[in-house]
Amino acid sequence: MINPFGIKESFWSRRKAFLLFLPAFIITVGILVPFGYSVVMSFTDFNLTSGTSNFIGFGNYLKMTKDSEFWNSLKVTLLFTLGAVIFEVGIGFVAAYLLNLGLLGQKLWRTLFLLPVMLPPTVAAIMWKLMMAPIQGVFNYLLQLVGLPVSEWLGSSSTALISVILIDAYVFIPFVGMIFLAGIQNLPKEPYEAAAVDGVSSWFTFRKLTIPLLKPVILIVLLFRIMDCLKHFDIIYAATKGGPASATMTLSVQSYYQSFRWTNMGYSFAHLVVLWAIVYVLSYLLVEKWKKAVREVHGG
């Protein structure tokens, strides 16, 4: 493809390329080893307490199809992902739009807006846990102040999932908003000037111009948010540990418990392999769609 050093040096440059690349390659293979270990061990009854590790074929996977806890955690994972992604993309887009308007104090707003994105997720979870405390928490106080009914937040199985989605949204709305903002600001000017000359309505411009032009950015946001939500662990574990009554028990948290509470490593790996397969297929499809959208927008 690109060879900066001419034909004479092609042998040396190839060797250089290889030498520069090798250390990182070794490390990458190093990551694949534990990963492969998980896949192989998911076909065994490996248990850390008893020390057994016998090959049982698809035994773990068959067991999962009959395990109501597995189905529950799959359902929780999908609900969490759906809820969080819709909420974050919706509000994130509105935020990007508002920050792009050029209202007073713009630069300061933007800096303040991006702060939560860099919070350690566990810290965000702890912060919100303190505010969501049912009796002394500030949220219920504020709700009472304006005459709304108070909530159990993380403490009740009916509201826990929505509460962790809110915490996740706190951290990731800025993430989504910042990416949309960058996308909006990188939009080409000419098509909009042409549209203004033709006198088309702003809704039509938005639907026929902005959305198609932003498609690569929208896909990147979806890629990162969907994948992160599917494998989510930190915030949920720090906020609820999967409870109450498995209401927030995602696949990641479930497999953590299978490993470290029940020491059923083999069974836990089977959960993770299923989760990984979902994530891998989806991310592959989204990356392909993204590449296609980039080609469409930028030509070539």
Partner: protein, 287 residues
Amino acid sequence: MGNEKLTLGKVLSAIGLVLIMSWTIFPLYWVFNMSIQTPIDVISYPPKFYYDATLENYSVVLIGKAWLGKYETVQTDFPRYYLNSLIVCSGAVAISMLLGVPAAYSLARFAFKGKENFAFTLLSFRFAPGLIVIIPLFVIFRRLGLYGTYYGMMLAYQLITLPFSVWLMRGFFEDIPIELEHAARIDGYSWWGVFRKVNLPLVAPGIAATAILSFIFAWNEFLFGYVLSSDITRPVTPSLMGFISYEQVLWGQMAAAAIITLLPSVILAIFIQKYLVRGLTFGAVKG
């Protein structure tokens, strides 16, 4: 702006902006608020907006029970956890920059077999569920004697920082016009000379941004530290879980610990604001 008409749309936009900003700022303000209240004030109802501020919580968290003993506190060794995080994150960033920068240059400038496959494999690590690598590492590290050691944890943490560094740095190298390198070659610079005199100065801001972002990601990381550390090498983010079980009594201290933990990430993020979008999307969106 002042002489423009005040339209309904503008008023609504301003209200929307205020709402979104309060959603972002209020939690940070409130937790800081809690962190400087006395144990009595912090659990009072209704919550107090005006009170006598105290740094007691910070000193208790930072120094520990054995020294102060005035209020009940968790037996944590917060300064040590902080230092652990510093050691492990710096180590991981150093490893991933040393290995990642040459690899990124190689990916950006040379053609070789399997290059794009390698790059996609690195990207797919970003989306893989962490536990699928962490649990085997836990088993393997225990066998190799790496469990709970700084070296083991640096190796584990750079599994996050290395793929990130390679992807981001590749983009920064690709931004440099190839013609600059050609010109320097014609001027008689060696390959190494070109890299040192042309590329490095141009990507220096990119390298700094990549290193800082890697550091933040490592600092924020929870699972690797939670599973692979011992009591002595525990990093600060997982150590916060120790406060959670005591939440009924120790709100002020929890808040103080949370504030101390988030400071490095948030402050560093402000410095590299310009590169944040690019960093968070692995270079896919150039902000």
